[in-house]
Amino acid sequence: MNREPSTQTVTVDYVTRVEGKAALSLTCSGETITDVQLRIFEPPRLFESILKGRSWTEAPDMTARICGICPVAYQISAAQAMEKLAKITIPKQSQSVRRLLMCGEWIVSHTIHIYLLHAPDFLGFANAIEMAKHHPEQMKRGLALKEVGNEILTTLGGRSVHPVNLIVGGVCRLPSIEELTKLKKRLESAVDLARETLSWVSSFSFPDFTEEYIFVSLSRPKSYPLTDGNLVTNREWVLDERSFGSVILEEQLSYSTALASTIGPSHERYLTGPMARFALNGQFLPESILAAIEENSIPQPCCNPFRSIQVRALEVWFACSEALLIVEELRREIQNRNGEKFPELQTRAGTGIGITEAPRGVLFQQYDVDEDGIITNCSIIPPTAQNQKQIEKSILYFLNHSKCGNDEVLRECAEKIIRSFDPCISCATHFLSLEVQRL
């Protein structure tokens, strides 16, 4: 009996356990998925327009409001752009405080993703609460680890969400010796919790699935990138902050409120974030972490998105160790020098670019400022917008690779692959509804 080709629509109304709101449309022809659209329908945030006409010193606090998970990355990128523009060198201790805040942000963001959003997928639970019933000790460890991240943010930034200490020129307040001593103790225990986290997630079984990626990340000489560095890729393009805007093409997709980025002359999809950082800078991780990578057989580069949970875990470990080093150094510095002189802020006209490694990847900000210090133009490219097209490609590839069958399994598989990329939809516009069209 001949069947007429039928059109079928399957809807994932909300993708759960991702940051923000998005829907997914799949078009299928027979068993093959032919098209994927990650429809981000959070309202556009219009931050770039809001910033125009504002003073150059307001950018860090305003951009921080783009995201409640990675406000520090927004603040540092914005502050660095303005400091470059106005040729301000920020004091060393302020620099350390910024790096420490970023460590706190990485710990919080990655720990939430590992324990509350991603791990339930590997252990077969619908959500974190179900998982916690069977793995209470692990969940308690996750919460304890996240708390240390929050403590860094609260101690150094004034509060854990949208910290207030970070300004153009440096920071408003340096921590006291007592605060640093307290943090040091917490971080020493956090390093152990992070090591245990890596062992735990390495015990999961991962789908046999790898892809080839174009990776983009910051890179520093002989150290793992965090708040600064040069842009690098695993391809032939030479990237620097000035050319980034022209090598990257941002396009408006009709079905999404977020802009989607591609790279290079043939507009290829690319990936930024933990997997990219690890692929391009993994060799600069501390010895103890490198040993654990070998022990847990984590491939480098890691091209299996499901294994990104391991990469996030080793980045949490890195952030804890790095934070510990910074705390010790800051303690010595503050003890010896009793603080530093805040640089003089002089308004200058020009263009400034600031790039940091937010937990989810490269965060680019560019500002034009006039002689009165007013922002006349600005461009903000968050990590999830850059990853959006690669995520779509991976969904297509994975769903066809794993032959999911009925719509329910399809929905589940689609959600799992999306979660592996830890998209922050709120940032990209700036949850997921799945629609499958069977042709």
């Binding site: 959500n127 609460i129 969940m139 308690k140 949850f431």
Partner: protein, 280 residues
């Protein structure tokens, strides 16, 4: 005469009560600010055994706040539900640990997680306070920078009252039926004697105490224990003046506070008597 204003620890050396009142919300999002705003109003007036904390409601942050707490009272805005016929400004007081009152949502993302996720997760992790209540105020406007709506504005007093009622019922429940006056009076007399020891004349004539509205102390019982506790000390024969207080929002509402201590005027005869007593 010595004036002392020093609240006593709870009777008989029992552990101080460990409660937390958490105001959830964002002050800049219209009626969502009700939690923090109610918190402002009860700040410093509330019972000392409750800490007051403002929170954005992020679930893992709330779980951290539960640590070591016996009781928790949340103050939060409620989004009107057409099915339940809640109208803006309505104040509800709910036991969140009662079956059916704790309808958790799936932890969908940290952007949408909230109070029930925190309670659900804390419950399976065994770190939930023994009692968890919600004083909820039904809101109507939640826009950025929106002011508090008129209906929610006029519900603030009611919300404060509901929190006070919960505090009182929790404290009463804890203290109910326990004969704790004896321990408290022993402590009172010891403190009074320590003060009078600094005076040239050590004999105590009277002690005045304020009895807080939530202290669950009966003045008659206090006097009986006082007479017993004073025997054989410099306070023997002293009178106990009890001033009952009725303000449950007073910061010392749970305490018995010594406010006045009168010692005998130093006379040669009393000094001699005192010396004789000391050496005898």
């Amino acid at each position: 005469m010595y004036l002392v204003c020093d609240p006593f620890s709870l009777a008989g050396g029992t552990k101080a009560m460990n409660g937390i009142i958490i105001g959830i919300g964002n002050r800049y999002r219209g009626d969502d600010g009700i939690g923090p705003l109610v918190l402002d109003r009860i700040d410093m007036k509330m019972n000392p055994h409750f800490d007051l904390v403002e929170s954005d409601g992020e679930p893992t942050g709330l779980i951290s706040l539960f640590r070591g707490r016996d009781w928790c009272i949340f103050i939060d805005a409620i989004i009107p539900n057409v099915h339940l016929k809640f109208s803006p400004g309505m104040v509800v007081s709910v036991d969140l640990l009662m079956e059916g009152n704790n309808k958790g949502t799936e932890l969908s993302s940290t952007h949408t997680g909230g109070l029930f996720d925190a309670i659900g997760l804390a419950s399976v992790l065994g770190c939930l306070p023994k009692k968890v209540f919600l004083v909820g105020v039904v809101g109507s406007t939640f826009g950025s920078c929106a002011p508090l709506s008129q209906s929610v504005q006029s519900a603030i007093e009611q919300a404060i009252y509901e929190v006070g009622q919960l505090v009182q019922s929790l404290v009463n429940e804890k203290q109910g039926g326990i004969m704790h006056e004896s321990g408290m009076i022993d402590e009172l007399v010891t403190t009074a004697l320590a003060w009078s020891a600094a005076s040239p004349n050590r004999r105590i004539r009277s002690i005045t105490v304020e009895v807080g509205a939530l202290s669950s102390c009966d003045p008659e019982h206090l006097r009986e224990h006082f007479i017993e506790a004073c025997k054989g000390t410099w306070a023997e024969g002293a009178s106990l003046i009890v001033i009952p207080k009725d303000d449950i929002t007073d910061q010392h509402a749970q305490d018995v506070t010594m406010v006045n201590l009168t010692v005998e005027e130093p006379t040669i005869s009393t000094l001699e008597a005192a010396n004789a007593a000391c050496h005898g």
